[in-house]
């Protein structure tokens, strides 16, 4: 497979993946280009993380083809729930563990020390270098793993649920940081459950439920029809300050069997 444009970093064509049972991904076509900033949205179990892993190269598709630009540097930031927070690593140890090539001695060189300091400084967590990773706020923890990914000077940054379980202020902080990194020329693909707080702020959104059901700007994709096909639930779209706002149209159905009070 060859890329359709010179700026393409990764291209998936007809990609399927499974963990032994039903397919998690089926016939996915997707291209990631330089400077792209995309959010993958979909319900739980829709294949978002698997799609990210296929882009990363840690999961081989069971069908279809994946093309990666030769020599492409990819950084990966795992979901915070997947991290073992009791593991004994300080912030600087965590960041530096990704530097596995080019130096055989276990301790860090002066240039590595300076590089780690520079990256932590850029992310505003330089003073936390000696802290254990558990002793940080949600936003700071996210930054540690972004710093680890940035140490490899990636061209594409993949992030799994970067704002999962964080408060509004931390979500804004993470979003501002990602916008800065994107502004510096980094392509970013992230997964998110948060349609209003995250996806609506991104330039490009992919709706996924095993297959890609919609792709484009939030205005193009966050529509009642696409969202109903993606989530299997009715949603309403309003507009606020030029941005789509997704409303959950919950209403009890007439034919739902009600739980009866049995009385004690």
């Amino acid at each position: 497979m060859t890329p359709s444009s010179a700026t393409e970093l990764v291209r998936l064509a007809g990609v399927s993946a499974s963990y032994g049972g039903d397919p998690v991904l089926a016939g996915v076509d997707l291209a990631v280009t330089a400077r792209q900033f995309s959010g993958i949205v979909g319900p739980s179990g829709s294949g978002k993380t698997t799609l990210l892993r296929v882009l990363l190269g840690s999961v081989e598709p069971s069908a279809g083809t994946v093309w990666r630009r030769p020599g492409l540097r990819v950084g990966y930031v795992p979901q915070v729930e997947a991290v073992d927070w009791s593991f004994p690593v300080t912030v600087s140890e965590c960041v530096l563990m990704a530097r596995t090539h080019g130096r055989v001695l276990p301790w860090r060189s002066r240039s590595e020390q300076a590089e780690v300091r520079r990256i932590l400084g850029r992310l505003g967590i330089e003073e936390l270098a000696a802290r254990h990773i558990r002793d940080l706020s949600g936003g700071q923890q996210q930054r540690v793993f972004i710093a680890r990914a940035l140490l490899g000077a990636p061209e594409l940054l993949l992030m799994d649920e970067p704002t999962s379980g964080v408060d509004v202020r931390t979500r804004h902080d993470v979003l501002h940081l990602l916008e800065d990194l994107h502004g510096d020329g980094l392509a970013i693909v992230l997964t998110t459950h948060d349609l209003n707080g995250m996806a609506a702020h991104l330039p490009h959104v992919v709706c996924l439920n095993t297959e890609v059901l919609g792709e484009g700007s939030p205005r193009q994709v966050l529509t009642p029809d696409v969202l109903e096909r993606t989530y299997g639930a009715k949603m309403e779209i309003l507009e606020h300050a030029g941005m789509p706002v997704v409303l959950d149209r919950y209403a009890p159905a007439d034919n739902v069997v009600r739980l009866r009070k049995t009385g004690a």
Binding site: S18, L96, W107
Partner: protein
């Protein structure tokens, strides 16, 4: 003081002391990875599996290091394969393989009597049979494993902490895991005579757990666990002579006493640090093809 130094007059004790100190350091170092990867059960099982190889080599008159070594390496690689592939019921499979091997060893000894090395020493540890060749063997294994840990420090750390991202970042995690299992098998083989297969798991787990209670840094934990293992081996071996108790149990009891002291002194902070040690590190999921490629 004179009484304390008297056993050093005996060759067998000097050899035993060197072997116990090196065994403690070696198991402490390897134990860090064993504990953090949630492999304590594998370490326990592998030491039992190697007992089968020990019994078979004693029975057949084959060199102990060769017989038990081949058996141990084969068991280690088999366990590694089962674990990495996430075969359904991997814990159960490991349990069956390792306990069956241990039971085979017991049955062979029961049927054909003792041959070569002492049966009890293999189970519970003894310094009576420790000779210069054992000193050289454990020295060689300690240096070899030390070199692997030194030069593979970052790959081992990355694979232990975050195997999926490590793999995607170019670390050959399958090779690193296999190397770790071989280091574990080598450590068990080299320390079996002094510590005994039934007690080796404790010398893998205790120094690492004590070290974890004392620090939040991986590099410091590695150094501390190695030092704690060496000290408990040294002190335990001396106590073993003076109390006239087998070396394996004494070394383990010294470690357990140290654990209790550190546990009490570090209080809530120590407990918090060790609270997540039972969490198993994740290994990459390998999708199974459901459609033809």
């Amino acid at each position: 003081m004179e009484e304390l130094l008297r056993p050093l007059e005996f060759d067998f004790f000097r050899n035993g002391l060197i072997v116990a100190t090196l065994a403690g350091a070696l198991c402490g170092m390897v134990g860090v990875y064993v504990v953090l990867k949630g492999m304590s059960y594998i370490g326990h099982g592998l030491s039992h599996a190697i007992f089968g190889g020990f019994a078979a080599s004693a029975l057949l008159g084959v060199n102990f290091a060769l017989g038990a070594g081949v058996w141990g390496v084969a068991s280690a690689l088999m366990i590694n394969g089962v674990t990495r592939r996430r075969v359904i019921g991997a814990d159960a499979a490991i349990g069956v393989i390792t306990t069956a091997s241990f039971a085979l060893g017991l049955a062979l000894f029961a049927l054909f009597g003792r041959a070569g090395r002492s049966f009890e020493a293999a189970l519970f540890g003894s310094i009576l049979g420790v000779g210069p060749e054992d000193v050289w063997a454990i020295l060689a294994v300690t240096v070899l494993v030390g070199l692997v840990v030194f030069f593979g420090y970052r790959q081992l750390l990355f694979t232990t902490f975050d195997p999926e991202v490590a793999e995607a970042s170019g670390v050959r995690t399958a090779r690193v895991d296999a190397l770790l299992m071989l280091a574990l098998a080598g450590s068990i083989l080299a320390t079996m005579q002094v510590l005994g297969v039934t007690l080796i798991a404790a010398t893998l787990v205790i120094p690492a757990t004590v070290a974890r209670m004392l620090t939040d840094s991986f590099s410091r934990m590695l150094l501390l666990a190695t030092g704690i293992g060496a000290v408990t081996g040294f002190v335990g071996m001396n106590l073993s002579y003076h109390l006239d108790v087998q070396s394996g149990p004494t070394i383990v009891l010294v470690g357990a006493a140290l654990f209790a002291v550190v546990f009490a002194l570090t209080g809530r902070r120590g407990r918090r640090r060790t609270a997540g040690l039972d969490r198993h590190a994740t290994t990459p999921l390998v999708p199974v093809s459901s459609t033809p490629r």
